[in-house]
């Protein structure tokens, strides 16, 4: 999670198994929505930004259906936990931990995310 103070020139990065991966410019993200990113090992991540500017990434694969769709769900806050609701069968996943809020036995991976200013790069 990161609080974005940076400007349009900033880049969002996800920590995958091969290290930090630059995914997209920060302004490509719509607050309250996600996008999908393809990681070098072929897995998919769902990257979100909330209305306060915090970014999150979890696995894109919905474990209930197997479809790669979590990036297309609606986000929200429940008891202070940021979540995305799967667009298929609506189970909610904690954006910070990947834990499923509706079924504690299920979870998806959570990835570290950071925003790098153009200057730092």
């Amino acid at each position: 999670m990161t609080t974005a103070t940076a400007t349009a020139t900033a880049t969002v990065e996800i920590l995958g198994s091969d290290g930090w991966l630059a995914v997209c410019p920060l302004d490509r993200l719509t607050p309250g929505r996600g996008v999908a990113a393809l990681l070098p090992d072929g897995t998919q991540a769902a990257l979100f930004i909330d209305r306060a500017g915090r970014t999150y990434a979890i696995g894109n694969r919905d474990p209930f259906t197997g479809a790669q769709v979590l990036s297309r769900g609606l986000t929200g806050t429940s008891a202070d936990r940021p979540f995305v609701a799967s667009p298929l069968l609506k189970q909610r996943f904690d954006l910070a931990t990947g834990a499923c809020l509706d079924d504690p036995s299920v979870s998806v991976p959570a990835y570290r995310v950071r925003t790098r200013d153009a200057r730092d790069a």
Binding site: T2, V23, G59, R61, A67, R72, L74, P109
Partner: protein, 879 residues
């Protein structure tokens, strides 16, 4: 149920109770027996003349409003089996032998009884008019009668434009029958011998108000005359009716509704005493006067107070009394019953209660009459102010509270009780003002106290639960409004906060949020959450419930509140469900389906070819939908813009299959081609679809237009359905297929094109304004207070003065409609979101794969399977 091997049935081990007649009262009697455990210790045999188990005769006419015979059934599934009751359908009793205590039925089946109960009801009285048996004459009592009337009327319709039907009798049932004929599309006459309609229930003033309103509906009323002769043509079918004043009605069918007579023939034949004017004589326990083993209940009985009751509530009371007597419990005896009625005749409220005719000595009348609006209200009060009774015509709102107040001195003056709202003195005397022993539900004799204790002691938390627990509201339904108020008051009083909030973020209902957005012209979810959200939710991200709901409200109101009509602009984009966000329907493997709009189901060969080519070129699975259009499945998100570019070029536009919005307006081929069609249903369907396309609503909206009453477009299964008549269009609302099907109710008839569209405009905007989230029109209509009548008042009679505004909102919607897909394609920024991966825009999603199936494709679900990954906790966060 066919007779068993032996035609004589004996079971010597257990006493036997035999019931003759399985009507409303008979069924209630069985329920009362079961409740008292009698069905466990005794054998119970029921002889039923009709081909179906007991049904709700009171609601008979609702068959024409779309309720099926099954809907009308009064027998809960499994009831007979559960209680071991032997029901013999279509096998009427023919003789009773009181010596041997046996009953023999038509099939030859004979059964010995220990106790016999007659609940044979009444038969319709047909006056001895010459020609009463011609082809085309009917009575109005059973489902079979209705089916015969309907079939005959439909045959007339095929032969002539507007056939005519006449009802003999202008009482309660006669007017119901007239309503049914009118609804079937016939020119309708009512002939009543008395000088006014409903002579038994209403007084002269009420009769006048009723007449005016009913005439305004196009029913031709003849009072003070009787039918003298019914004439027939060469084929033996009715051609007309001569009246006692020498005039003549040209008519093609006649329905007799000139009163009922008790069916007491069986009793007469076996020597039981019957009254001078019919009715089996019984005592306070409902036992027949000359045989303690035989009882009579319901309309066939002449009760101990010397009356034959033609209403269901007293019959239920008798059923209870007889069941207690048979169970060997003491009974309070049948003490006579109230003759109050509230009816909805041809859409006019008519109610009478207590001493409606002012027969009590020295009583006074308080009358309010408004001939313009057809409202007439009279209260009868004693000198000391005690309310004795009354008549309400045109507006019977107050019936639910006035009837239980009968016999008491109301807390406000009678003048205030009859004056309409807005005249300075209206008093909304709610049910809360009633004492605990006031009877709220007359049909089931349920008091206010019983309703309250259903909430407080039996922990019923909703109106349906209270209905189930107390039976209140399950008869004629006239008490449901008062019941709802009482239940909600009681819930609130017992500290249950009925949280009407939409979700954990907002304490408001959807309808309230709509009003907030509309009046404050708020176009931002963020602002709305900050100003109106629950304190704990402010500043958060909202949730998946309120975001799309508010997105939809803003979209419905867009032109009027100054929001951009395009649902994916700015903050709005974040509010939409995934389907709206990608303007397509998400499928199980993450691919999307595409449904172009095909208004009215009409499509040119050229357009069909384009759809075929697009499907072929993109490898899409193609299927004709249930909504008269074509669905293309299996598109990846990155293919959507390419596919739509070709579709938009060919003149297609979004079909909103993904949105809570207007879906399709189906049509039949109509007058242009069909030999039966009476209007151009295709043109109307296309007009409607183009008018309402893109309209965002609380749930999806469906419609259909049929070219005649054969209804090939299934309009009555739609949220708003239109059926052509020879005079214009009938508009039906609140239909639904799906999990809980409901036939739409008639809102208005014989409308011109312009009237039709105006009413639909108002109806839809009123629905959008007041419905809950994901509440189809059918559920909404069932839920809102006042139901269909209220909606009709608002959208037809403009009772809330809202219609101008509703029409203006719709006009703004129509003027601002733009095709979402064309808009999207025109803007590269909007297109940028249609990629599988933000970091690899050209890479297709490898998990979206297909395998062959019946010459097309289907999703390859095997690529989706895989182990779920373990949770990966993050300590701290990166900067």
């Amino acid at each position: 149920m066919a007779a068993a091997a032996s035609p004589t049935s004996t079971d010597t081990t257990r006493p036997t109770v035999v019931l003759i007649g399985h009507g409303m009262v008979g069924q209630r009697f069985l329920e009362e027996l079961a409740e008292r455990g009698v069905t466990e210790r005794a054998r119970v045999v029921v002889l039923c003349e009709e081909p179906r188990p007991a049904y709700d005769r009171v609601q008979l006419t609702s068959y024409f409003a779309g309720r099926s015979p099954e809907d009308l059934s009064m027998v809960e599934a499994g009831f007979m089996e559960k209680h071991g009751i032997e029901l013999r359908l279509g096998d009427p009793a023919e003789t009773i032998d009181r010596e041997t205590r046996t009953v023999t039925a038509r099939s030859g089946f004979t059964v010995r009884y220990d106790q016999l109960v007659l609940a044979t009801g009444s038969y319709p009285f047909v006056p001895p008019v010459p020609g009463k048996d011609h082809k085309g004459t009917f009575v109005y009592r059973t489902i079979e009668d209705l089916l015969a009337i309907e079939e005959f009327a439909q045959r007339l319709m095929q032969k002539q434009d507007v056939p005519s039907g006449s009802v003999v009798g202008g009482g309660l049932l006669g007017l119901e029958a007239a309503g049914a004929l009118k609804g079937l599309g016939l020119e309708t006459h009512v002939v009543e011998f008395a000088p006014r309609l409903m002579p038994v229930q209403v007084d002269e003033g009420g009769g006048e108000a009723l007449r005016r309103t009913i005439e305004d509906m196009g029913v031709i009323v003849h009072t003070g005359v009787g039918g003298k002769e019914i004439t027939a043509g060469e084929d033996g079918a009715v051609t007309g009716m001569e009246l006692s004043d020498g005039s003549r009605i040209d008519t093609d069918m006649v329905v007799f509704s000139a009163g009922v007579r008790p069916r007491d023939q069986l009793a007469r034949d076996c020597g039981l005493e019957v009254g001078e004017r019919g009715g089996i004589v019984v005592d306070a326990d409902c036992r027949t006067a000359n045989d303690p083993a035989v009882y009579a209940i319901g309309e066939c009985a002449l009760a101990c107070d010397g009356r034959v009751y033609g209403l269901v509530a007293p019959g239920y009371e008798m059923a209870r009394t007889a069941a207690s007597a048979i169970a060997g419990e003491g009974t309070d005896g049948f003490a006579g019953a109230d003759l109050s009625t509230k009816l909805k005749l041809l859409g006019v409220d008519v109610a009478s209660f207590g001493d409606a005719h002012g027969a009590t000595e020295g009583c006074l009348d308080v009358v309010y009459a408004d001939s313009r609006s057809g409202v007439y209200k009279k209260l009868v009060v004693a000198q000391d102010g005690t309310l004795l009774g009354g008549v309400l015509v045109g507006d019977a709102e107050a019936y639910g509270t006035l009837r239980p107040l009968t016999g008491t001195v109301p807390p406000v003056s009678p003048e205030q009780l009859v004056l309409p709202a807005g005249t300075g003195g209206p008093v909304a005397l709610g049910p809360s003002a009633l004492p605990d022993d006031a009877v709220i539900c007359n049909c089931h004799n349920v008091t206010k106290g019983a309703i309250r204790s259903a909430v407080t002691e039996h922990s019923c938390g909703t109106v349906p639960e209270v209905k189930k627990c107390t039976k209140a509201g399950t008869g004629c339904g006239s008490c449901v409004k008062a019941l709802t108020t009482l239940v909600n008051d009681e819930l609130e009083a017992s500290g249950v906060t009925v949280d009407k909030g939409l979700c954990a973020c907002f304490p408001h209902s959807r309808a309230e949020l709509y009003e907030i957005v509309r009046t404050l012209r708020l176009t931002s979810y963020e602002e709305l959450l900050a100003s109106h959200g629950r304190p704990e939710a402010r500043g958060g991200d909202g949730c998946e419930v309120c975001k799309p709901t508010i997105g939809s409200i803003i979209a419905s109101l867009a032109p009027s509140v100054g929001a951009d009509g395009y649902i994916l602009d700015g903050e709005q984009a974040a509010l939409q469900d995934t389907n709206d966000h990608f303007l397509a329907n998400l499928q199980r493997n993450g691919s999307y389906s595409i449904v172009p709009r095909i208004p009215g189901g009409e499509i040119t060969p050229e357009k069909l070819i384009v759809i075929g080519e697009v499907a072929r070129d993109f490898g899409l699975y193609t299927k004709i939908t249930g909504g008269q259009r074509i669905d293309l499945f299996g598109a990846r998100v990155d293919q959507l813009p390419l596919i739509w570019t070709r579709l938009v070029d060919a003149g297609f536009e979004s079909g909103h299959a993904y949105g809570k919005a207007l879906r399709t307006v189906k049509s039949c081929v109509g007058q242009t081609w069909c030999r039966y069609g009476v209007q151009d249903s295709v043109r109307m369907a296309i007009d409607l679809e183009l008018r309402y396309r893109g309209l965002r609503s609380p749930h999806k909206l469906k419609s259909a237009v049929s070219g005649c009453a054969r209804e090939c477009a299934e309009a009555r299964g739609k949220d708003f359905g239109v059926i052509a008549t020879s005079n214009g269009w009938n508009l039906y609302v609140g239909g639904n297929g799906g999990a809980d099907p409901r036939h739409a109710d008639l809102l208005a008839q014989d409308l011109s094109d312009a009237e039709l569209i105006r009413l639909i405009d108002r109806f839809l905007m009123f629905y959008i304004r007041t419905a809950d989230r994901l509440e189809r029109t059918s559920a909404w209509l069932e839920r809102i207070e006042g139901g269909l009548d209220h909606v009709r008042d608002v959208v037809v009679h403009d009772s809330l003065g809202l219609c101008d505004e509703l029409e203006a909102l719709m006009a703004a919607h129509v003027a601002h409609y733009r095709d979402e897909w064309a808009e999207t394609l025109n803007d590269p920024e909007r297109l940028a979101r249609f990629v599988s991966f933000v970091n690899a825009p050209d890479a297709p999603d490898p998990s979206v794969r297909f395998v062959p199936e019946r010459d097309q494709v289907k999703p390859d679900l095997t690529v989706l399977a895989g182990p779920t990954l373990p949770i990966r906790t993050l300590e701290g966060t990166s900067a």
